[in-house]
Amino acid sequence: MNGKTIPIRADREPSSAFEYITTKKDELIGWARKFSLFPYPFVTACCAMEFMAVSSTPYDTDRFGAALPRFSPRQADLLMVVGTVTHKQAPILLKVYEQMCEPKWVMAFGVCATSGGFYQNYAAVAGIDRIIPVDIYVPGCPPRPEMVIDGIMQLQDKIARSSHPIITRDF
């Protein structure tokens, strides 16, 4: 067969057909993934009340496909860090993050997870981004449910726009 093969190595110049297929593939997979966020709630503090409010009927994150919490990090792809993370908890947070399979995203829910908030002392970690990479920040003490929903929608946009390698780094 003399059919044109799809170059999947980075050192070759990608053809326009390859570019087209890659873009459409990313669009398709991004569309699928953004509506199937399975959150793992890493809930440590008072923001949990707001998390319960936002995930239950009146605000209903199920509209965004992000309603069903998975209580095993191996089944989740969105780590929602809800509340203050202390230095004593930091190794647990890191272990949970490392147990999650790719692709995975992290939401810092509330100002303590975002930056430490008003805690500047021996106990609190000043922002979980010192330990794990964070995709979306939702500040507020606690954030309004509308802010959380806005954060989820921005994360969906980010997922839809990003590339989704499924076979190699380039495809």
Partner: protein, 157 residues
């Protein structure tokens, strides 16, 4: 607050436990560390103060003796509280443990040891309870730097 048990305590304890002052709802004694354990034994055995509420400390940085250890007791018989305060020095911040009298004291003394470094003689288990193994210093002492962190996980650069 007129309370007969307070009058009894004043008569009985002031000669041994030192001066007493009446705060709203409780009677406070200031005593030396050596008098602490006998006084608590009498409070529990003779006067019915059967509930140990808390032990904490105050760091009077710059004063000597530096630390003030504060105890609170409650009587489920008389429905009143008693506070005991004693001062310990910085170079030997130790008082007698109350574990032999109140089992719950074990955990509160661990916390006080965590935060202020007070050593409770007779408490066999003074491991960190709120802090973690490897934490250096006592964070609620006034000379602990306010923003000094001791992370367990290396920070991402």
């Amino acid at each position: 607050m007129a309370c007969p048990i307070f009058d009894t305590l004043r008569q009985q304890l002031v000669p041994v436990a030192g001066p007493a002052t009446l705060s709203p709802g409780l009677l406070a004694f200031t005593l030396t560390p050596a008098e602490l354990l006998p006084t608590v034994q009498r409070l529990k055995g003779e006067f019915g103060f059967d509930l140990f509420l808390d032990v904490t400390a105050v760091d009077w940085l710059g004063q000597e003796p530096r630390f003030e250890v504060v105890y609170h007791f409650y009587s489920t018989v008389h429905k009143v509280r008693v506070r005991l305060k004693t001062r310990v020095r910085e170079d030997d911040p130790s008082v007698d443990s109350l574990v032999s009298l109140y089992g719950s004291a074990a955990f509160m003394e661990r916390e006080c040891h965590d935060m202020y470094g007070i050593v409770f003689r007779g408490n066999a288990d003074l491991r960190p309870i709120l802090l973690y193994e490897g934490f250096v210093g006592h964070p609620l002492r006034k000379d602990y730097p306010k923003q000094q962190e001791q992370p367990l996980v290396p920070y991402r650069s």
